[in-house]
Symmetry: C2
Subunit: 399 residues, 2 copies
DNA sequence: AGCTTAGAGTTCACTAGTTGGACATAGTCG
DNA sequence: CGACTATGTCCAACTAGTGAACTCTAAGCT
């Protein structure tokens, strides 16, 4: 059973192969499964029977040219996964099934000053609400992915000290949620999950190497290398916000000077506009004004873009990803920010690396992180098909 | 046979499992193989017989507590691999066997202005000489790894335009060598191979994420991520030499200003010392003088270190590798350059990323690239054990 | 309508391959 | 010298995949 190298392990691998093929195609007849997996028709016949008996798969008759074929598809209620994303101002939950379909999704505001207990209470509540809304049995939950807006040690599950949500430092969100929901919970930080979300279902589809750059109150990046989230041995990879652009630039909250963040993050950029545009401006507001033509806001956004571009150029020289996806509030600015980024990359990156780079806005907007959390849950439960990801049917959001 | 998911594929996997176990341990009895692989004793018995008949493995009696055990080890002449490294001033060849032992190694000077044909002639000659010196049959060559000092498109095998060896641009070295030796040849650039060499047999042992930085006439890096060389989709990853340190710095050969290379590479640094130390100074000479106490040279090396450190800090923030290995001539300077690098990293990298980084000099010196080429040949022939690398016995170099 | 055809799925006997258990082997220890 | 013990081998049982023969069923043709 447990021994690798035995027939039963081979059998298991073949089961997975079939499930994978079915999931990728949505639905397949047995003959098609045999062709795509390379297994013989007889084997497929056995495996499909086994999967059907186990409830993982549904079989419906189809008409074809010859004998009535049986269309095999993943049964919708074989299991569900849940994605939970804590932002600094919101809480977002999505429920999906094993066929990579989003069944329900909802978000609600979250008070920055809320205690972690309150936060988890709200999350638990929302999860329960969505589950009952979809009418799926609770026992079908296969796993939960959880995103938190701060550095988290994935091994120990402990939230780092610079968390954006004050008072959450040192908590262990995954354990907390597992305690409440009674199912395995996997955490990661929001930038990594955003990267995963865009990779599987957004602007990163079809690519194996991607950097997701999220500009909000800070600047962070999630890296996908060879189709997998890359966290680095210490879990701190992707800190693009703190690469040095100007050794004698402004002092950053990290203690250094001239970090990218000091030229691009909301907390440093918004003050530039306060004297002319008032003090309670948000990044969202700046983007809106810029789109409406406000020259000051346009200038600020262009400058931010240029600086991000310098950072991306460094990233590009070092890693040579094929795609950079811009997320966060700033992505809404579209070409106003992407243009300067591309220009800067073109100037500072070596040509051969820049040539194959495409810089795109995220396709999922604020949903990237929850969907990434879903993807995390799927991948942690052994779903190896995510890379070829197809989010077959995004369902009407509830709220 | 070819179908994945069949019993024969399982058998093949089990064969590999056994070979792997034996290689890692050097030699094992069948009972030990059974324990480490998790296969049953009966299976191991069959597999060992098969391997012995095939000549991959040798069996010698050992005394033990009970029945006389049979010690299984890879037969030395099961196959050999060859590493070839073209430097800008030298040609280096190594011959190794499948048990990860270096059987012979030799290097000779290579004229920078030599035509590519001359170069390949010399390489062929040297390979033949080493093979006959080791007395192994030519038919046992399982593969060749080839290193070239310039950007090479690993897919097409074509050498890029900025090659350091003039006149080699556009040649396809792997094909050239395959034509002469009649065996599969795999190319990569020297930085990547250096990284691989140090990873498997040098300062990178036991680590999964490493950056090998080679400072010579230019500055390049080879990246190992998750135990594999990372080339990036375009094959240009690791261009640390051209990340921007100072937007208004000196003009670099790449067309930008203030690239790391302009502060660290021999071609830019040596001129600084020409007025005081004469015009035919080499990097090697500078290092020697610095070690002897020459203050000017010390200062220059320290400055170079500081700048490299800035680059490494960026690398560290983005990738968070657990180890950075310094190679090339400059590495000989030891603490004179490593100290400033570490200091700079400490200053410019975010603390959590810098904390787990160790910056080490390469352990293999100029051999890193050839040994990396050996490792490349081994890995390309399906040797998946390299990560746990053990260079069991380095043999007396010939020359 | 009846016949043919062709693709789909199933059954079955066969084969490859692993495994547990029985067994032979050969050394040490008392 | 006998008991003990760990090793390797053999064999029968078992697991799982496969080709070939077979059954089904819809569509196309006469």
């Amino acid at each position: 059973m447990e021994t690798p190298g035995s027939q039963s392990s081979l059998h298991r691998a073949n089961l997975e192969r079939v499930v994978r093929a079915v999931r990728l195609a949505g639905s397949l007849t047995q003959a098609e499964i045999a062709r795509t997996t390379g297994l013989s028709a007889a084997t497929v016949s056995n495996i499909v029977r086994e999967l059907k008996d186990g409830g993982t798969v549904e079989v419906t008759p189809t008409s074809a040219g010859g004998r009535r074929a049986r269309s095999v598809s993943l049964s919708g209620d074989a299991g569900i996964v849940i994605g939970v994303d804590f932002g600094h101002t919101h809480l977002r939950v999505a429920v999906g099934n094993l066929a990579h379909q989003v069944l329900a999704e909802e978000s609600e505001p979250l008070d920055v000053d809320a205690s972690s207990t309150q936060g988890f209470d709200r999350a638990e509540e929302l999860v329960n609400r969505l589950i009952s809304a979809t009418g799926v049995d609770r026992s079908k939950i296969a796993g939960v992915g959880l995103g938190v807006p701060g550095p988290i040690d994935v091994e120990s599950g402990t939230l780092g000290s610079t968390a954006i949500l004050p008072g959450w430092t040192g908590t262990r969100p995954a354990e907390e949620l597992r305690g409440r929901l009674g199912v395995p919970v996997h955490v990661d930080n929001d930038a990594n999950l955003g990267a995963l979300g865009e990779l599987v279902w957004g602007s990163g589809r079809g690519v194996r190497d991607l950097a997701y750059i999220k500009v909000a109150s800070g600047v962070g990046a999630g890296l996908v290398i060879n189709g997998k989230i890359y966290r680095g041995p210490g879990g701190t990879a992707g800190e693009i916000g703190h690469i040095t652009l100007d050794e004698s630039g402004p002092v950053c909250r990290c203690g250094n000077r001239g970090c990218l963040e000091t030229f691009a993050a909301a907390r440093y950029v918004l003050p530039l506009l306060q004297s002319s545009h008032g003090t309670d401006l948000t990044m969202e507001g700046v983007v809106r004004l810029a789109r409406d033509g406000d020259p000051g806001c346009r200038r600020v956004i262009a400058d931010v873009g240029r600086h991000i571009g310098s950072g991306v150029a460094n990233l590009c020289n070092l890693l040579n990803p094929s795609r950079v996806v811009l997320g966060g509030d700033l992505a809404e600015a579209g070409e106003l920010v992407l243009g300067p980024i591309r220009e800067s990359v073109g100037r500072y990156a070596i040509p051969s690396a820049a040539r194959q780079l495409s810089v795109l806005p995220g396709a999922l907007g604020g949903r990237a992180e929850v969907l990434g959390a879903l993807a995390l849950a799927l991948s942690e439960m052994g779903d190896s098909t995510l890379l070829d990801g197809t989010l077959t049917a995004a369902t009407p959001a509830f709220t």
